[in-house]
Structure formats: C-alpha cells, structure tokens
C-alpha cells in the first residue's frame, strides 16, 4: 500500500510541474525587453572592440539599466541591471576611445564591462560613499586599457585613478580643504578636481585643483570667483572632460551672460547670451567633444518655450580666448543637439521637430539636411546622440538616436526612422485588463435574453442570429485560414476571439499618461494619452486606479485621488468618452477602505474621505513604531467553484469564503518584527494575527489573498539569532470549522452580516492553519491566477528580482495541510497531499518566462479568459511581459498536436466509403429477401 501511495504521489507530482510546454514557448508569451529612458550624458555610440567597423549604442538609463543596442535594428545586444534606484545625477557611463570596455558608476559601485558581450571585468564598491564623477583617461596603457578616474565624497573629496584592467587604485588624492566635491575632469596632461568652496557671505566659489596625471600630486589650484552667480551645484551648466581644453560654464544671476573658464586657467570669459527673443530665460546646454584629439570647439544650445537656437564657439588654446564662430538660426519648436567627432573634426547634429541638420564646427555650412517623415505624434526631441561617418568631403551619413519627450527612443538614419523603442513603458505604475467591447456586448445580449420571458428571448435570439448572418461570407472566406493557421489560438480580429485571450491592457505611466496595449501583441502601443499635466521629473502623487466601467462596455475609468470624478476613456481609441452622468468618488456600491498615513480608513457606502468625516466607519492603526508595508485584499470578482474541500474519506472541510477580508502586513524596524493581520473589512475586526521576530524589515514583504487562503513571504534577518536563515513563504488556509462536515457557528444560514444586523454580534472567526516553506529567493510581488469560474486549480504567481523571472507555484504544493513528519495516509494521498518538506525549490519548469530574461518586473496582474482552463498574465515594472497560464492544463481546448486536416480527411474517407459501399449493401439486402436460401 505504501509503495502504491508513493507511486501515486510521485505521479501526481509530475503533473503540475509542466507549466510551459516547448511548443507554447515564444508563441503564447510576449516580452518587450526595455532599458529605460537614456540619459544624454550616459548614451553614446562606441566601437565594441578596437578594430570593429560597426559601433553599438550604449546607454545607462534612468532605471540604472546598462545596455548595448544594435543601431541597425534596435535589438538589445546585452544589458545589465545595475543595483540601486539611481537618480540621474548619480549615474555615469564612460568608454575610452578605441577601448573594449565601458565603465559604469551607479551610486557606490564602479564596474567595468566588456563592451562586446557585457561581461563584468571588474567592479569596485565604495562602501557608504557615493560616486560623484567618473572619467576615463584617454591615453591607454600597454594593454590598451584606459585608466579610470573616479571622484567620491568620503567625508573629503577623494580622487582615485584606477587601473583600467583590474580596477586597482594607482594613486589617490584626498582634498582636505573641506570643500564639497563636484566633478573631475581631464585634459591630455592634467586631472582637474572641481569642488565648491563656501564663500564667506553666500554663494559658492569654484575651486579647480590640478593634479598630475601620473602621480596624483597637486600641481596647481585656482579659485574662481563665482560666488555672486553660483549658489548651488545645479547651476553649473557644463564641465568638459577628455578634451584638449576642458571647460566649466555657468551663467550669471541675471541670466545675461555665459561665464566660461578653461580649466587650469584663472580667466573667466564672459560670453553674452544670445537672447534676441522676448523669452527672458532660455534653457542653456553646452555640447563639446569628449576627445582630446578633437578640435576645441563647443556649441551653446538655447531652448525657449517656443524656439531654439545655438551659437558655436572656438577656443584658442594658445591665447586662452574664446571666440564666437557662427550662430545657428532660430527654429520654432523643440530641438536637440549632439556633438560627434570624426578624427579631429567636430560635427553638430541638430534634430528639430521636422528635420535633421548636420553642420561642421568649423563653418556654418550645412553638410546635410534631412526632412523627417510626418508621423502621427510629432517628434519632440529631448536628447540626441549622433554618429557621423565622414565618407567623403561631400557625403556625411549620420544616424542619431533621439529620445523624444513622449519617451520613445528613435534612431534616425539620414532622417529616416530605422527603429523606435517604447522606453516609456518602463514607467508603468499600474495596469488593468479591460475586455473588448464586442465581447462584453455579447455577454450583455446574453444577459438580456436571460432576463426576458421565453418568447421575447427567442425572438431576440433569432434576430441576433439573423444579424450575425451578415458576417457569414467573410467568415467563410477566412475558414481555410483558420484551419491552416490556428497556431496560437488567437484570431486576428477581435470578433473572432472566442477564447477571450484578446483583451486590452490599460497602463498608467509614471509621467501622467495612460496607454493601452493589446494582449495578443503587447509590443506595440495602441494609444497613449496624457491625463495629468506633470512637469519633468514629477510623478503621480498616488497611483491612479484603473477600472473597467460597469456602465458601458469598452470604457475604462481612471480615478485620480485628487479628482473627484474619473476620466473615462474609450479603450479602443483613447478618446475621452462622454457619458451622461459620470460617477463621483465614493459611489461604490458598498463600504470602501484605503491605506493612507499608515492607517487603514474605512468608509460607509454613503461617502468618502472627500465628503463628510462622519461617514468613516472604522480605522485600523498598527502599534507605534510599526509601519504598514502591504495590504492585500481578495479580488472583487473571485469566483469559487466549490465551497468546501473534500477530504479523502469524502467528508467536507468548509472553506471560509468571506469576500470582505484583507491581509495587512506591518513591520517594526526597531524590533525586526513582522505582524500579519487578517481584517474583516466591513467591521474592521481582526480575525487572525501572527507575528514573526527576526525579520529583515528592509526587504520586500509580498502578500496575497484569494479564495480561502492567503500567502506572504519575508526574509529572515541573518544577524538575528535563530535556527533558520533565508527567505520564507507562509501559506495559510481558512476554514469555517476545524471539524469536517461542520459549517461553524453560522450553521446553515444563507447569509450573514459582519455588523450584527441579523443577530450575530461579531464576524465569525475562521479556523486558520498555516505552513511555512523556505524558498530560494526573495519574492518581489505575488498574485494568483484567476479563471472564469474558479474550477481550475490555482497557481501562485511570484516575481523574482534576482533571477529575473516569474514563477508559477502550484497551489497543490503550497498546501497548509501537508502531513508533517510522516508519510501521507491513504486518504491524504487520495486528496493529493504530499509529505511536508521544509524547502520549496522553484522547479525550472515553473518559470513562465522560460528562456527569456524578464528584467525588473515589479507587479503582475491576472485576468480570466473565456476558457475556464486559462488565465491571462501580464507583468510590468521595467520589462513588459505577457503570457497565458493553464494550471490544470488546457482541458477545454484542442491541443496544437490535434491535426484538423487529418480529422477532415478521415471524415471525408469515411463518407466516400459509405457512398461506395451503400449500393452493394442495398443489392445484397434485396437479394436476401428474394432469394430462397437452399
């Protein structure tokens, strides 16, 4: 019996392990690998190795993702997610000319990467200090490695020269004058440390310390009298580096003059700001070559609200003077410039909303002018990185990677769009699935028929079918195509999507826009619309709530917390829908609760926080010192097929299925404790509560609630005493009673109230059983698969930050009733329970992303499809990933192995056989009747 049990449990174990089939991989899932918005100072074209003919486009984005892009097709050659949420002033990416490494600096980490394949060569951690600047010394050593200069502030500004091949420190210079470090710059001979010295009255004095490149000894120091103009480091416009004449530039207070100093000299050159416009303070950007062999020319770019223009200046090194060479004309709209070098020549690429212009720094003659094709949304260039190939004196093919203000990264090749990357999709903060309007329409019609009397419903159905006949010719035409090409199970047009795999995904982007994707092709954005005016760098104060409208199909409501009414958008077009009476905040059909200020506030159906305060029903506050790190509620629409769990002996353990429950997890940083509260959200009563000590409160605590169970994960503090280390997941199941065949105190009551309206004074407390498992990795976010009727078994979807994956853990294994310390009995085996094992390894087959590397995914949402077996999954955060999961296999749809042609051929062969045989049989039967058998 025992071996039988083992065999059974073994056979059962194999089953849920097959999450992704080989023939489904790359068919049902979609992945958009992204980088983030490229920054102008960390994006460049560079040859991956010295003799390479083609160059790659390198960038370190605002999301601290380092990547190399093939400029030909926009595909990612390699990418690395660097640690840390970086602000753009603290990320650096440099590559020495002709060298095969790129060096990144993010927060406190310096790393060198092989330019061709992205392998780590060396890395250096600065501890608590943050890197302030990073430069590469152009003159390579014997091995061809350029040394790296870093500046960081470790109490004092520290400049270090690191060996390019190993990252070891060659020399170190510590500035003990008490200045604040700002930047480091190099010329062909010197290293300059730029720091700020607090002036006596106010303002900052710029101090330039010259260091010897070889020894790091201080050779000279200049103090520039900038205190009247500069009060904060942000006012410095530009510090050049790796140039024959590195510059530092700032403006005076009145914004009338541009002050430029050639590093190492004392003179400050006043250049008048060319502001003929009525606009009084245009934004100023400097562009200068980053190569010591290049000409010492630079460009000053002025951008006003309505137009932009530029001046080109030449630096005379011998005399240390700066003279204006020429001006580029003022053009309307937004523009961006890029400086690129070919040998010693310097070129400036100007990209405007309508054209791309190439000029040489030497003269104002236009070398190339390419009009841009008109697109639907105008290209508003924010940042440009260009590469010029000087083939001959008359031909200058240019390609420019342009980041436009809507977040698209486009490569223009002589004015033609080579590719566009939707990098703004890295900023998705929340998302929701919305059904197609057609599908909802059919559901509506069916509901209509359900509510009519039989005759009217029949007439209605008849007319509907007659109307459907109009689509018959086109359906017949598409029939062969359907038979031949039903590979992915998704039809081309929404009307034909019987399985409900096609839905819209509405996304809220952090820059205040709403965008829509299609689940069948999430690589292309259907539309995007700005619903909130936000300045650069501004974000939503709180994530908006996206909700499919209950009043009209195909409408999504965008609820911003600040506004009382939602913005209603049509999901197909993004056009604002005009519905007669749009709902106001608080018009939910029941109680509401929200998390604000470390407290959960609940409101009665009559109002909301914007309305009367008296409508508040309860508040849930955690102990002082605790902070709420997560609230998980049961999904609003969470159908459950069976209200009880059938035991092996055919008794029933009744599930506690209260839709009004929420799981609140709070941590205390001082004591390192995690407390999990299960709340009844109508009355605010705590139904269940558990505390854990020795929890690392800085790590993510993920939690979710579904059906009659909840799960949460946390990381144990490795400094705390305890027998256990690592990451844990807890699964808890709620039952109405610990006794089988018992429905608890409520008995057979068909409804109940948590508020004691019909007699009961307290909500019924569930019987909770839990089990804890060790897991190999920290869970970033968890959610549950959802199907139409809840018959299919569930899978817990968890996103993993460390292994860049999404894992579907079968619920059968995450069962709180697994027998501990003994083999399961025959009844338990019949129930599908396996012996408890304290560790839960993530089976490689559970990874929904299989071979793909899904980087930086923060959240995942699920939605039921029309097929009971299948749930749609969409994950976002940095990359965009969408797939379908069938936890109990696709039991309701024919597999891809089913040969429709063979079936048709068999039917046809049988038909032919019948036709051929029929006369023979008939003759035989007639003969039988007429002939007397002898």
């Amino acid at each position: 019996m025992r071996w039988l049990a083992l065999l059974l449990s073994g056979a059962w174990l194999v089953e849920p392990a097959l999450a992704v089939f080989a023939d489904d991989a790359f068919q049902i899932d979609h992945h958009v690998p992204l980088l983030g918005l490229p920054q102008s100072h960390t994006t460049f074209f560079h040859q991956p190795y010295a003799k390479s003919k083609a160059s790659l486009l390198y960038t370190l984005s605002d999301k601290a993702v380092l990547g190399a892009i093939n400029p030909r097709d926009g595909a990612i050659v390699w990418r690395q997610a660097l640690a840390g949420p970086a602000n753009s002033s603290n990320i650096f990416l440099r590559a020495g000319d002709g060298q095969d490494v790129v060096v990144s600096g993010v927060n406190n980490n310096i790393a060198a990467w092989a330019a061709s394949d992205g392998r780590l060569i060396w890395s250096r951690n600065l501890g608590n200090a943050l890197v302030h600047d990073l430069e590469i010394i152009e003159l390579p050593d014997a091995k061809g490695n350029g040394d790296v200069l870093i500046l960081y502030n470790d109490g004092h500004p520290v400049v270090q020269r690191l060996d390019g091949g190993s990252g070891n420190v060659k020399w170190e210079y510590i500035d003990k004058t008490g200045d604040n470090a700002f930047q480091v710059s190099t010329s062909s001979a010197h290293v300059y440390l730029i720091s700020f010295h607090k002036a006596i009255m106010s303002g900052l004095k710029i101090r330039v310390t010259s260091l010897d490149q070889l020894t790091g000894r201080e050779t000279d120091a200049q103090s520039l009298s900038s205190e009247s103009d500069v009060t904060s480091p942000e006012q410095i416009l530009y510090v050049g580096a790796n140039s024959a004449s590195p510059l530092i530039a700032w403006t005076d207070k009145a914004n009338k003059a541009l002050k430029v100093n050639i590093l190492g000299t004392k003179t400050i050159v006043n250049l008048p700001i060319n502001n003929s416009d009525e606009d009084d303070s245009p934004a100023i950007t400097l562009h200068a070559p980053h190569r010591s062999t290049a000409l010492t020319h630079f460009l000053v770019h002025y951008q006003s609200a309505r137009s932009h223009w530029a001046d080109v200046y030449h630096v005379n090194l011998a005399k240390s003077t700066i003279s204006k060479a020429y001006s580029l004309p003022k053009l309307a709209g937004q523009g961006a410039f890029s400086c690129s070098t070919v040998d010693a020549n310097v070129f400036f690429t100007r990209v405007t909303e309508s054209e791309m212009i190439l000029v040489s720094s030497a003269s104002h003659g236009v070398l190339g002018r390419w009009p841009l094709a008109k697109t639907q949304s105008p290209l508003l260039p924010l940042r440009v990185t260009a590469e010029v190939a000087a083939l001959s004196s008359s031909s200058y093919p240019t390609r420019a990677a342009v980041l436009s203000s809507n977040g698209e990264w486009t490569l223009l090749r002589n004015g033609d769009v080579s590719w566009t990357r939707p990098e703004y999709l890295t900023g998705v903060i929340t998302a929701t699935f919305v059904d197609l309007p057609e599908e909802q329409g059919l559901v509506h019609e069916l509901e209509l028929e359900g509510h009519q009397n039989a005759l009217a419903a029949y007439v209605h159905r008849l007319t509907r079918h007659v109307n459907d006949l109009k689509a018959l010719p086109s359906w017949l035409q598409s029939l062969p195509k359907t038979f031949m090409g039903s590979k992915s199970g998704i039809a081309d047009s929404p009307q034909k999507d019987k399985f409900g795999f096609r839905k819209y995904i509405i996304l809220a982007l952090e820059d205040g826009r709403i965008a829509a994707l299609d689940t069948t092709n999430p690589t292309s954005v259907l539309w995007s619309k700005r619903v909130l005016k936000l300045g650069p760098g501004e974000r939503w104060s709180a994530p908006p709530e996206l909700r499919a409208s209950s009043r009209k199909p195909g409408i999504v409501e965008v609820w911003d917390k600040a506004a009382g009414r939602p913005i209603e958008l049509e999901v197909e077009t993004g056009i604002e829908a005009e519905l007669p009476d749009s709902p106001v905040l608080g018009e939910h059909q029941g109680f509401t609760f929200e998390l604000a200020d470390n407290t959960i506030h609940a409101f009665s159906p009559s109002g909301h926080s914007n309305g009367a305060v008296s409508s508040s029903t309860w508040k849930f506050m955690v102990r002082t010192g605790d902070r709420i790190v997560g609230v998980a509620a049961r999904p609003v629409n969470d159908p459950v097929a069976s209200i009880g769990k059938v035991l092996g002996d055919r008794r029933v353990l009744y599930k506690y299925l209260d839709p009004n429950i929420a799981l609140v997890s709070s941590v205390n940083d001082a004591t390192g404790s995690l407390t999990v509260h299960l709340l009844d959200t109508v009355s605010g009563t705590t139904l269940h509560s558990v505390s854990y000590l020795g929890v690392d409160t800085t790590r993510t605590i993920a939690s979710t609630v579904a059906e009659n169970w909840f799960a949460y994960s946390f990381t144990l503090d490795d400094s705390a005493s305890g027998s256990s280390r690592g990451h844990q997941i807890v699964i808890s199941e709620m039952y109405e009673s610990p006794v089988p065949n018992d429905r608890g105190p409520l008995g057979d009551a068909s409804n109940y109230s948590s508020l004691g309206i019909d007699g009961g004074s307290q909500p019924v407390v569930p019987h909770v059983i839990s089990q804890t498992f060790h897991i190999p990795e920290e869970i970033q976010y968890m959610t549950v698969t959802r199907t139409r009727q809840g018959i299919t078994s569930r899978e817990l979807l968890v996103t993993l930050a460390d292994s860049h994956g999404i894992v579907a853990i079968p619920r059968q294994l995450l069962d709180a009733r697994r027998p501990v310390g003994r083999d399961p009995t025959a009844d338990e085996v019949a129930e599908g329970l396996v012996r408890y094992h304290p560790t839960l390894e993530f089976d490689p087959k559970w990874y929904l992303n299989h071979q793909r590397e899904v980087l930086g995914v923060k959240e995942a949402i699920t939605s039921p499809s029309n097929l009971e077996s299948t749930s749609l999954v969409f994950a976002y955060g940095l990359d965009i990933f969408g797939t379908r999961v069938a936890p109990s296999f696709t039991f309701d749809v024919l597999g891809k192995g089913f040969n429709k042609l063979q079936m048709l051929a068999t039917v046809a062969a049988l038909g032919v056989g019948v036709i051929v045989v029929a006369p023979l049989v008939r003759r035989k039967q007639i003969n039988q009747r007429w002939q007397i058998s002898s």
Binding site: V640, G644, R650, R651
Partner: protein
C-alpha cells in the same frame, strides 16, 4: 394350363441376404467391436433382456400428492439458487476492487441485472410448479425467492457503496450547497488591495 404350372419367381438375392445374415465371424484376436455394433448373439441377448424387463410389472404412476411434494421440492431448489450464487459473487466483487474500471462496472451491472430480471419474471419462474395443491406452499417459496434475489441486489449495493457511487457522504451533496452571501461588501480603493 400353362399358367397353372407357373410357380412364383424366386425371391431376389437381397431378400435372401436379408433373411439369412452371414454367420458371425470368429473374433480375430482381442480387437473389440466398435461401439454400437451388435452381433447377432448380443442382439439376441438384448432382446431377451427386453423380454425380461417387459416381464416385470409396470411402475405405479405417482399420486398427485407425491407430484405436489416433488414440485414443491423443485420450487425450493429454484428459490434457493440465487443464494447459492451469492458467495461466489461476493468473492468476485471483492476481487475486482473498488476502482472504477470497465470490467468491474460490467460485473456490478450484471450483479444488478440478474436478480432484477429474476424478480420481474417471478410469476413465470414458478408457473410450472403451479397446481391447486401447491398453490399455498409456493407462496412461501416465492417469498424466499424474492428475499434471495434481494440479497443479491444488496450485494450489488454494497459493492456500489464500496466503489463510492452511493451519495451517502456530505461531499456528495456539496455541489448543491450554496455559499453564504454577505449582506455587506467592502471594496479596496486607490490601489490599496494590490
């Protein structure tokens, strides 16, 4: 007259052959005669035996009372017959196990079919034993017959119960039980429940 001098023609040879069969040959060696072959002597002996049995007096036909007793006896045998099958059926049922397989399902089906058809044919089963004298006695026999068949049905029920096909437990009625409906609903707002 010449006609009067006519003597009857000699009988044909085959008549002669038939009248005088050849003398039995002496048996050569110990080869036995094939079965059913009767030599003249054995025929003669047999005929003599017949002769002797015929000589005995004819058996007395049974009286109606005796016939009735005989019929009741036979009827009892018929009534008890299903019970005699029971142990064998029980062993068979036990051996087939409780899993739902086509073989065990067929066996269980047969187990039900036999007694039920038997019960349906109850009047016919005892018709041949029916007589004015046995009528009263057959009543008890019929009752036992019904009981033994019901026993067989009971065995079938036991088997079906063992297979878990009888809705005797709570889980069998779970699908008809409804979830309790809450009178209030609470909804998370502004990303609280995510």
């Amino acid at each position: 007259m010449a006609g009067a001098s006519h003597s009857p023609p000699p009988p044909p040879q085959w008549v002669l052959d038939l009248d005088s069969p050849p003398a039995p040959k002496q048996k050569a060696g110990s080869t036995p005669d094939p079965p059913g072959f009767s030599t003249a002597s054995s025929t003669k002996r047999g005929s003599s035996k017949q002769q002797s049995s015929k000589d005995q007096p004819a058996r007395k036909p049974p009286t109606p009372e005796e016939m009735d007793t005989l019929k009741v006896k036979k009827a009892w045998e018929v009534a008890i017959a299903p019970a005699k099958q029971l142990p064998m059926n029980a062993i068979g049922m036990y051996m087939t196990g409780n899993s739902l397989q086509i073989f065990s399902i067929m066996m269980v089906f047969m187990l039900f079919k036999t007694p039920i058809t038997a019960l349906m044919g109850l009047p016919n089963a005892f018709q041949r034993f029916e007589s004015p004298g046995t009528k009263d006695k057959l009543l008890l026999v019929k009752l036992v017959y019904v009981l033994t068949n019901l026993l067989a049905v009971g065995l079938g029920l036991w088997k079906v119960g063992q297979m878990g096909l009888l809705p005797t437990t709570r889980s069998d009625w779970l699908a008809w039980e409804a979830a309790r409906e809450p009178l209030e609903r609470a909804y998370p707002i502004f990303g609280t429940g995510k």
